[in-house]
Subunit: 360 residues, 2 copies
């Protein structure tokens, strides 16, 4: 299917068409984002536009990396880290919002109250002065807003939660909301910076004329390299262990340093990054969706989110002067999220095995 198309055009033409399409999407999302942030009702649109912007930036960056020999090398080499900076900056706000939602959901689940309806009063609670990202989910969960004094001891217990869980929820909400607010400010600053304008100018160039090199190299070998890089990274993962349920590996450093967890998670994060590059290369080849690869990617996304959430719980537990009940709840929460990490590894293993069956 991909072959049929590639036969009709040169590698450079296919690559240029893909980059032009992604650059156009980037510019469209950027325009939408600008319009929505000046509109008071546009919080939802702004969120969606930022997501589309990040999505396009990641794809352009990945394509520049994988197919660099076909492009003006210096230009591609310079632009890629700038795109990574931009998508990273935009991603942070979203990451804090989803992290908080994940942790609050987990606290509810751990309190044995999965289906608890939000208290009727929650909708009338004054919205905090933070960006809209994630506020909806926090409200959906029926959480009281953290007390402005920031005192851990003052949180009331939302319905269905023990005192410890409620205090842990209030503490996490306060810390992650603050982080989100800062990330939002940083993102706004980024949009106004000359660095950002330089990126946007470069992407605008892409949208009209892709700077190709004189190379006559084909796309397939470069895409195959992305795939073999992924295969190599996956081969380095402890997949045998991950495939054995309840192997208790992810929590092995549950009480050790954060650095120990990070070292354990690093090869999985690397596999996640390489899986993305592989997927983006497949998109250039118009190879069609591979559901197994999508599942494997989702498992690695969940791995990263759970690892970050576990880390946030551990970090919150190091807050001075918290009550023992709060610390206990954060300990349970940390372990729960590390088990989510382990479950994600198990899921990845399952998805990857399916993948291995398909490719000979």
């Amino acid at each position: 299917m991909a072959q049929q198309h590639l036969d009709e055009s040169t590698a450079g033409e296919v690559l240029a068409a893909h980059l032009r399409a992604q650059a156009t999407e980037f510019l469209r999302s950027l325009r939408l984002h600008r319009e929505s942030t000046t509109d008071a009702q546009g919080a939802e649109e702004s969120l969606e536009a930022a997501r589309a912007l990040r999505r396009a930036a990641r794809r352009i960056g990945g394509t520049l990396h994988t197919f660099r020999p076909l492009l003006d090398q210096e230009w591609a080499t310079d632009l890629r880290p700038e795109l990574a900076w931009l998508s990273g900056t935009l991603a942070r706000e979203h990451a804090y919002a989803t992290r908080l939602e994940r942790l609050l959901d987990a606290l509810h689940r751990l309190s044995g109250a999965p289906g608890v309806p939000p208290p009727a009063a929650a909708e009338s609670v004054a919205a905090p002065a933070v960006p809209a990202v994630g506020r909806r989910s926090a409200r959906r969960n029926g959480w009281a807003q953290p007390s402005p004094q920031g005192a851990d001891e003052q949180g009331g217990a939302p319905r269905g939660l023990t005192v410890g869980a409620a205090k842990a929820a209030a503490l996490l909400e306060r810390q992650l909301t603050l982080a989100r607010t800062r990330a939002h400010s940083t993102a706004l600053q980024a949009f106004g910076s000359s660095r950002f304008h330089a990126v946007a100018d470069n992407v605008a160039v892409l949208a009209s004329e892709v700077p190709l090199s004189a190379s006559r190299e084909a796309l397939e070998p470069l895409a195959a390299k992305a795939e073999s890089n992924l295969a190599e990274a996956v081969a380095a993962l402890p997949l045998g262990q991950a495939g054995h349920p309840y192997n208790a590996e992810a929590l092995v450093h549950g009480l050790a340093t954060e650095a120990a967890n990070e070292a354990q998670d690093a090869p999985w994060l690397k596999a996640r990054a390489l899986l993305r590059l592989h997927r983006y290369a497949q998109e250039v080849l118009r190879a069609g969706d591979d559901l197994r690869l999508t599942d494997a990617g989702h498992a690695l996304d969940r791995h990263r989110e759970a690892a970050d959430a576990a880390s946030a719980a551990a970090s919150a537990a190091r807050t001075p002067r918290i009550a023992p009940a709060t610390a206990y709840a954060l300990g349970v929460l940390h372990a729960d999220q590390r088990h989510e990490v382990e479950a994600a590894r198990f899921d990845f293993h399952q998805a990857w095995l399916r993948e291995a069956v398909r490719t000979p």
Copy 2:
């Protein structure tokens, strides 16, 4: 195989032979236990004798229950709870010792130090004035003895442990050692009680002459009832969920009340008790070992031990004036043990499926 034997003798004869053998084992263990407790070097033998005594008491009690129609009913009905009281009293000391060992092992594992050698100084630490049960394992783990003041804040950090984990270890060691000491005293008192002597006298009767009833009932239907009771209890378990790895069910009440956990665990504990009765009935029929049933039983044993350990961690976290780091470590430990509960359910599910394949 069992059939062949039963054809040659009446049900009463088979039952009587089995009960005589178990009663003889009971009396032999009791004699060994008495001899070893008067001997200063006999701690290990005393432990082994108590285990054999409990083992025989459980089998006699289970047999009296399942095959009651073949026995003097009033006598069997009176003796069974007395045997349960005895084995329960003897089991408690052992249970506290294994619980402590399980929790200390878990704290080591959670600190990422699974193969850590015991500190050289540990062997020279003065042994506490507690029974020998479990002391060896605690020493093997290289744990400092809890400080006599009982102050949570004073525990040093054994090698490879964070401060929180070390304090949690010291707290658990203190609490469970105290419980073990009390259980030991209670067991000693029990051995000296007239209630115990009445049990021993009854078992001595069994060893010489089993009080059979006039019933001509066969063994098989009674054993089949024990099996169907088990099947019924297992059918009531959420096996579909348990067979799905990382279902996060066991921790659903991780932050709720202990009563919520107990309610969730109750059907599994019931299945465990009925699985034992079934196994003991199979022993009477001399049906041979069923490895799948043994595996299922081990999974349910692990379920109970992990549930009790999780409960002990939660209970320790309610100790007044503990440090937040201690509470955090206990939270991680609690969640870890509840995941062990979930893993045990998964293992039971796997073993039980194998079982179902065998029996048509």
